[in-house]
Symmetry: C2
């Protein structure tokens, strides 16, 4: 029985705003040890995503805000999708994680390749 | 039948040296779109690893060389290990990828959570 996205995702997602600085995000990544930071506006609507890769490639470019580096067309999954379908979506877009949303588009969790790795580790 | 590390890894690993700059590595990550950069010395011996996370958290710290940010105790796998064992090792150390080495410790490939995700996507 293949688990659903809601069974594998991490809830309590840490987010940031588009006007936050790249340095602020770097401190967050350092403190929390994660790689994926969804970007939300003042009404908590998902407007972008920033990963450690986005921050890494910003080095030496003079960029300052998350709005300068974020990806705005966010690939997401629904809570009730089977995790193998999520895996194919990650591979299709060559990304390592995606926000999980409910039927209203509200942010419910985050699911990454590291979560999928944990699943495979349980196989025997 | 669970695949072995050698069946899932990417060969032709791109590496850098400890004296290379963080800015040089940032350009490599941007051009190649990867997250894991093994660090080797002049005799091609594996001496460290740098990921996009290491570069991201270096932002605003004034660090300049890869030797300033690399992790020196590198977690690796052998080519003939089953991939579920590799998955448990990634989870144990909370890392997203590891270099794959042969019995002499020579670098043969790199295996990441994204490769494991690709496997799960094939399950149905
Ligand atoms: C092509 S990926 C490769 C590097 C890395 N594995 C990653 O996912 O960031 C890099 C780009 O994908 C974007 N990205 C990551 N997750 C995303 C998602 N769920 N939706 C849209 N773009 C995403 C990042 O913002 C970054 O610009
Ligand atoms: C705890 S992980 C979490 C962030 C991210 N998923 C990653 O793997 O970089 C971050 C640290 O793990 C280190 N790391 C990543 N892969 C490693 C490996 N194969 N062996 C040793 N350290 C590794 C990185 O150098 C970085 O300092």
């Amino acid at each position: 029985a293949v688990p659903f996205a809601r069974d594998v995702m991490t809830r309590n997602v840490i987010t940031a705003g588009p006007d936050d600085s790249i340095v602020y995000a770097a401190r967050l990544f350092a403190d929390k040890g994660f790689d994926h930071l969804p970007i939300v506006d003042e009404s908590s609507k998902l407007v972008g995503i920033v990963t450690s890769w986005d921050l890494a490639v910003a080095i030496g470019t003079g960029k300052e805000k998350l709005s300068d580096v974020q990806t705005k067309k966010v690939v997401t999954a629904r809570e009730d999708e089977p995790v193998d379908a999520v895996a194919r979506r990650l591979e299709k877009y060559k990304i390592s994680g995606l926000p999980v949303v409910d039927s209203k588009g509200e942010l419910k969790g985050i699911l990454t390749s590291d979560d999928i790795t944990r699943l495979l580790g349980k196989v025997r």
